[in-house]
Symmetry: C2
Subunit: 319 residues, 2 copies
């Protein structure tokens, strides 16, 4: 009887692996190692295999008790096995990560994009538990997305399904890191909060944000803006409204296309809390069709630090 | 051996039913009756059942040889059976059309949104034959869409999946029939071509469009604009460029979300032909991520007048 799943979150800096109960999603134990991608994928994958063995040994679990290894990676993943490319890693294109890891661990492996994986985790054991049509968004340094349609992740032909950060919400608008203009990511990521605030601070210094960073622009984080907005600062509140306006267009567009019944939002921007979530739904209704608003929930992600590991395990748990 | 499928296209004015070969998609015979929705759905469905019987009898096919009836309807359809509402019909909400038609015909029934059905038809026997990830768009009076993900139609929780006409492509832009502003439909439908042209004709009458309608604005159709553009008229070409700009944003956004490998465009606007399709792909690349452009085709729909009937049959043919 297989009662465990190994969940692995392969990030730019760290690889976090956890042993997860297949029934409950509970993380039994977890451990992180450095990714050190510059040494090549073989080195990293060899060490991941050792890490998996160590985790199992530590809690005296045999491989026979493990359903498989789920892994989240930054980049598009085709058919839950081939990674089109690793964002910011110097690894080769179209690497069959499933095969590489199965070879090294003698366990079944499923791989998917990191935000897809997080979305699946929220659908399995988190804020969207029990929902089979879910839109997940991670508003961090960039904006990522995961779309669950009838219980399955929407991958697309090249694994780029759910790349919601790059839908255009303002034609000819702000330059995005992808090279295009007006992308959602350029308006609603934590980075976007900072750039919009920096821009406005050049002409207005009589506000709580300026005070809270003591006039040192290099210290500015999205949190300064949200905290100032919560304290009632009009300058900061107007920036939050600006974020909400574009986030609502992005979400509204996605609702009209995918029609899920729950939207789960994680990442640094989601930490803004009520000042973001309360006005958001009303604003979304200006873009989403009435039929797409029926019974809709928009909620913060809840899995937090475990999201990557639990989500990766969800690739095996949710079928 | 079941060798046929009945395909039915339930429109606002006419109901067209056809007998379709299950292997080839060939329409053996077809017939239209008036919808007369004002008499109530029971009256229409009773007459549809009679029409189906007559079709089968005419070509001497027994019900045992029929896999089932596929039907396309204007409106969102939940789980290929319940119609959330009929666009422009005075019929009740949440009608179980599958049940109503199975009761009257003693055949299996699957129902879906009309543009979903057309997209499925193109994927089965049309321009997207053999593709399992398809974006279908119908640019007519309005803009409809159908999304096929891994061979299945994306329906969503209320059947509103693929309502691509109402993604916002210009925040605060043109008023749309849905009541929102800046929807794709307000920029890229045949109606949108007409309204943009009417707008521009108020300040410019020295152009081929004005000539071709003899100065009678009530005669204006999208075709006048496309024909003038093809004849080299700058006024008309600029309107086509305007349509392409927004259509490209809409398609680009959809590619980033759904990542299909083919886009099939039908409806009156698609009849513009090369002047639309040739510049379109280049323009789409300004919004779609590079990975979503890899191997992408953007092509005109080919099923034409049979699209509704063949597409409805595809609900049974493609599983």
């Amino acid at each position: 009887m297989k009662r465990f799943i190994v969940g692995i979150d392969l990030g730019g800096t760290n690889v976090k692996a956890g042993l997860v109960e297949a029934q409950t999603g509970k993380v039994v134990c977890s451990e992180s190692i450095k990714t050190q991608s510059e040494k090549g994928f073989e080195d990293t994958f060899d060490r991941i295999a050792v890490l998996v063995d160590r985790l199992l040994k530590d809690v005296d679990i045999k491989k026979e008790e493990v359903e498989g290894i789920g892994m989240g990676i930054p980049g598009p993943v085709i058919n839950q096995e081939i990674v089109g490319f690793f964002a910011n890693f110097p690894w080769e294109k179209n690497l069959n990560v499933r095969e590489e890891l199965e070879k090294r661990t003698a366990l079944s492996v499923l791989v998917d994009n990191d935000v897809n994986v997080i979305t699946m985790g929220e659908a399995w054991q988190g804020a969207a538990k029990g929902h089979r049509n879910v839109l997940g968004m991670a508003l961090g340094t960039g904006v990522g997305g995961g779309i669950v349609v009838d219980g399955k992740l929407l991958g697309g032909v090249r694994g780029a399904g759910g790349e919601v950060g790059h839908i255009v919400v303002e034609p000819g608008g702000k330059l995005c890191g992808c090279g295009h203009k007006g992308c959602l990511e350029a308006y609603c990521s934590a980075t976007a909060v900072i750039r919009e605030t920096l821009d406005r601070l050049t002409v207005n210094k009589t506000n709580k944000v300026w005070e809270s960073i003591g006039g040192d622009l290099s210290k500015l984080e999205a949190k300064h803006v949200f905290d100032s907005a919560k304290a009632g600062d009009d300058f900061a509140k107007d920036i939050v409204d600006f974020i909400i306006k574009y986030l609502a267009i992005g979400i509204g567009n996605l609702l009209n296309i995918v029609n899920p019944d729950i939207v789960v939002i994680g990442g640094g921007v989601a930490l803004a809390g009520d000042i973001l979530f309360e006005p958001l739904k009303k604003e979304v209704a200006k873009t989403a069709l009435g039929v797409c608003m029926e019974g809709l929930e928009i909620v913060p992600a809840v899995l937090g630090n475990d999201a990557g590991v639990v989500g990766a395990a969800a690739l095996f748990a949710v079928k």
